[in-house]
Symmetry: C2
Subunit: 306 residues, 2 copies
């Protein structure tokens, strides 16, 4: 675990020959019929979401280097869902995957310190599985350096990483991230990220930092400029698949040579059984649909990465 996060990430991408990351976003209404909860108890709903998440992981574990587990979809089941969130992370680790905890936390320093305890630090308790902590988390850095420092310092100490929101995928986020005259907010955030990333040991042997950025592909020119301004920052790229971006659109998020970025797809893989393309081929076998969609996604992104 003490190996640098970026070295572990790049090794995993190299081993799987793709930078594709599957997002685990279980929505109760969209679960396959045979996983429908047996009761109106929240524990039954959380258990169904957990079973679905574990199956997704089992089906894609041999073709992708990492999964991204989205906390929101588990928090919908209250504490029962949060318990499932941590067990799903442990399961992904047991299957040899890197895990990104998609939590988007962000608060003032004294509060961020406590968020870091629950989401990126080594648990100090005898009954907490250390494998339930993800290898990296997503962060909202809008409250400045003090809001991210507890996460970055703790992550770096334990060979883990962070991905700070710089350019989100939702076009609705533009009304804030494109704010500004000569310099837009997302460019300002990129400059701050560079400052926050400047500490001893931030960059691994591979030349990439443990402080990453969430960067959605927009027009190629502005994405290339953003990529050039963050030459050692790993990008976590949302927006592929159900959100509309193609693999080619994600290309400018990579460094020359196809390193330094991972691309996430959630709905287009995990709900492949709702897609005629897969349903016509595999019928009601939702596991086979997810497996094939995971392979198609991994291959599509493999063209981009080295």
């Amino acid at each position: 675990m003490s190996m640098h996060f970026a070295d572990r990430l790049l090794a995993a991408v190299r081993a799987k020959r793709t930078a594709a990351v599957v997002g685990i976003d279980p929505v109760i209404e969209n679960l396959p019929p045979d996983l429908a909860p047996a009761s109106r108890f929240v524990r039954a709903a959380a258990a169904a979401a957990e079973a679905f998440s574990r199956t997704i992981i089992d089906e894609v574990a041999d073709v992708v280097p990492a999964v991204k587990v989205n906390s929101a979809f588990f928090e919908a089941f209250f504490d029962a869902g949060v318990a499932a969130y941590y067990r799903v992370i442990s399961h992904a680790h047991a299957r040899g995957l890197l895990v990104i905890g998609d939590v988007k936390r962000g608060d003032i320093g004294s509060t961020a310190k406590l968020y870091a305890r629950g989401h990126i630090d080594v648990p100090p308790y005898d009954d907490v599985d250390p494998a339930q902590i993800p290898d990296a988390v997503t962060l909202a850095g809008y409250l400045g350096r003090n809001a991210v420092a507890p996460f970055i310092e703790t992550a770096a100490r334990h060979g883990r990483g962070v991905f700070v929101l710089v350019r989100p995928s939702d076009p609705g986020a533009d009304e804030i991230h494109e704010f500004g005259a000569d310099c837009k907010l997302y460019q300002h955030l990129a400059r701050l990220l560079t400052a926050w990333s400047d500490f001893a040991g931030s960059v691994g042997e591979c030349g990439i930092s443990c402080v990453g950025a969430v960067v959605a592909p927009k027009d190629a020119d502005s994405t290339q400029a953003l990529r050039a301004s963050l030459p050692t920052t790993p990008f976590l790229v949302p927006g592929y698949g159900a959100q509309g971006a193609s693999a080619d659109a994600c290309r400018p998020c990579f460094l020359n040579g196809g390193r330094g970025a991972i691309v996430n797809a959630s709905r287009s893989v995990i709900y492949a059984y709702q897609n005629d393309r897969y349903r016509s081929r595999f019928g009601g076998d939702w596991r086979a649909c997810i497996r094939q969609a995971g392979r198609d996604f991994a291959e599509d992104i493999a063209r981009l990465a080295s």
Copy 2:
């Protein structure tokens, strides 16, 4: 519960004759010695934090209208802490208090919808206590309208509210919120908040909206200008007490007549037993220290509100 959030909030402030809100931020290292966890199990730590939180609520319930329960401090204990978070909210409701869930969530629309389920909606499960849902939550609105809409729509439908971060208390947040030339980011956020607040039923009979803002007191001029630009927005004011702001500094956050704002204090009240001022008077009776600090805080803020 169908009564408008702002009407409920103002009625509670009127009933207690103060706009003081006590923040529940339990840190394991700071608990009174007699609440120290009995083991290195996370459930023991979460139980200690919960017992502390319940006691704070019991000691201040007769003098303040509301408490703010900070999710971060419970997430530090993983799912055991999240279960405690919800039970603490239920307990505060049972003591007649309004509750703000301080969760600062913010993500793209499809994810925000799921966060709203776990944090502001009416639980659809037979085994979930409806009283565990707070009356309002704090939000990070940096991903735009789609990120806050699921919360705002759900809150408004159920007589609940939201407080969107506009001007945080941590000076470190200024490097982002003071970004911009003529118009600063916090002013831009205030304009967006006005747009997001523009829907039928957003304003209660009292003339105040269910869409609020987190606004820390900075210099009086800029705070007054921000207050004037948001004439129907309730302000949740952080920064008082341990963070350095006085009651007078909070005054510009109120509307004329002393309405439309609530002021939070966490550490200065709940850790009063670490303060010589209270310890010299009450010795090791930490409950009495919290009770007195809660009263002093409530009285100090009472000067501001009507």
